[in-house]
Amino acid sequence: MSGKSSWIPYLQVTPLVLVLLLFFVVPIALVVIVSFFRYQMLTGLTPAFTFASYLDFLSNPTTWWLYFSTLKFTLIVLVLTFVIGFWIAYFLVFHVRSLIIAMGLFLVCTVPFWTSDIIRMIAWRPVLGREGLINDALVSSGVVSHPLSWLLYSNFSVILAYVYLDTLFMIVPIFNSMARIDRALLEVAVDAGASRWAAIRDIVLPLSKTGIALGALFVVTLVMGDFFVINVMSGGLAGSAMTGMANDLQVLNYPRAAANAVILLVIVLLIASGIFRLVDVRRELVR
């Protein structure tokens, strides 16, 4: 490109930069600032520079319990979505021979992504409830004598809903990475005597690491930043790191909610930078 037109990229990114400044950078900066404000019942907020909200927040045992529970859910969902996402993508890329059929099946997997999350959660009610389809089938076939109560509004249903809603975020990036792998590589490996499993472990897995990293990034941030899936699917019995924040907002304790937000944001960004350190996602995306 000629030097004369070198100002064009700056012009092209100006709208993006403006939106991100106004609706991302400034709001996040304000959250950080407010987290140091002083909060008093009745009087509300007073500008200050105090760590009171952080101390208040961290000295509360509920905080630690909620964060621990959120990390536990994140880890379980990460493992499940990775295992499911990897094998679904692997099946579509390496086992379906017709490209058109593979694309069709890929679309079948992605269509639910474009529909409402809330509706998709409501849809589990008639399946998992006490008089739902699964309990009906179990009771009438005599497997259990009483309907199982842990199917809905439990840790089980929370994990199920996370996997249900978020596995797509694993499938799509892993599928994209795998689709770029040269099949000849695998044929050579098999011809040279590698077992099917060794070929997957030593070729497919390393070459799809960008997709896995992106998928993990999505799943971690979706589960850690969630408060409404856990609220609906646990029937209000379980909470996430965000639940405390939502409660604080309702009593207008903005500083403590902000302190919680800052801590969560730091954890999420640390995990993200860890993922980016392992895999150079940017080099793969911007080419």
Partner: protein
């Protein structure tokens, strides 16, 4: 390995079964919701379906203590359309910028990713506080619009990266060498290649905004959008009207997906026919 020819290995059958189970897992609940939205007047939330009827669909249109669904829709639809247009314009132009080197491109990339992964509720607190400081009321067409853009633009940009990654700069150079002007190159070479991607960006922009909950919760102000209205109904309404509403919105989403995919297929077909 499934090689180009030969007998299928046993893993093919195992993974086929796994895939079928996964599809059942994805669509099974939605199908049961679809069926139960035709529940009769008995109003049971579970199977079996008794005296199938349309009464719960009629209940959506004639609200009797079910909340303001029509009003919520009349806000969610224009909001999603505005977000879609802005997402298209902003991420397409920005996507082209990333094909060249410019100062701060790495910073802007990571800023966009950070905007994608920042928890929605955290961001809405910040936006709400910003509007308070400015003395502005939170509205669906102001604060919620901005909150949605902070979520749809990163998606739009990521799609543009993958689309533009396939656009070889040598095509444009060839067009230039053959005497095409800059505008003509864009119209006849660049646009036909990236148009399907732009439609995908539009589909993402619309649906992500139309279904967004966490980023709207605090920023929408006093008037609810559709996801907020459904969220309120979850706690108040215990009749199959929820299922009927789910069927209608899912049908609407499927219609949009069909339009978007249909136009992508049409563009592809027209392009290959011209060759």
């Amino acid at each position: 390995m499934a090689l180009a020819s030969g007998r299928r290995p046993w893993t093919f059958y195992a993974l086929s079964a796994f895939f079928a189970l996964f599809v059942l897992f994805l669509y099974g609940p939605m199908i049961s919701l679809l069926i139960l939205s035709f529940q009769g007047p008995s109003g049971a939330l579970d199977f079996p379906l008794r005296h199938p009827s349309f009464i719960w669909f009629r209940a959506i249109v004639h609200p009797t203590g079910n909340g303001d669904i029509i009003g919520a829709f009349s806000r969610s639809l224009p909001l999603a359309l505005i977000v879609m247009m802005l997402t298209m314009l902003i991420s397409v132009t920005a996507g082209f910028a990333f094909r060249r080197r410019f100062h701060g491109s790495a910073l802007l990339f990571y800023l966009t990713i950070a905007s994608l992964i920042a928890p929605g509720l955290v961001l809405s607190i910040g936006i709400l506080v910003m509007f308070r400081f400015l003395g502005l009321p939170a509205t669906w067409y102001g604060s919620a619009l901005g909150a949605h853009l902070s979520w749809t633009l990163p998606f739009g940009l990521l799609i543009m990266f993958s689309v533009l990654g396939r656009l070889d700069p040598s095509y444009e150079e060839a067009a230039h060498d053959l005497g095409a002007g800059r505008w003509r190159t864009v119209r006849d070479v660049v646009l036909p290649i990236v148009l399907p991607g732009i439609i995908a960006v539009a589909l993402f922009g619309f649906t992500l905004s139309y279904d967004e909950f966490p980023r709207t919760w605090l920023t929408a102000g006093t008037k609810n959008t559709l996801p907020l209205e459904i969220w309120t109904m979850l706690t108040n309404v215990t009749s199959p009207v929820l299922y009927a509403l789910g069927t209608v919105t899912t049908g609407f989403s499927f219609f949009l997906i069909a339009v978007a995919l249909g136009s992508i297929v049409l563009i592809r077909r027209r392009r290959s026919a011209r060759r």
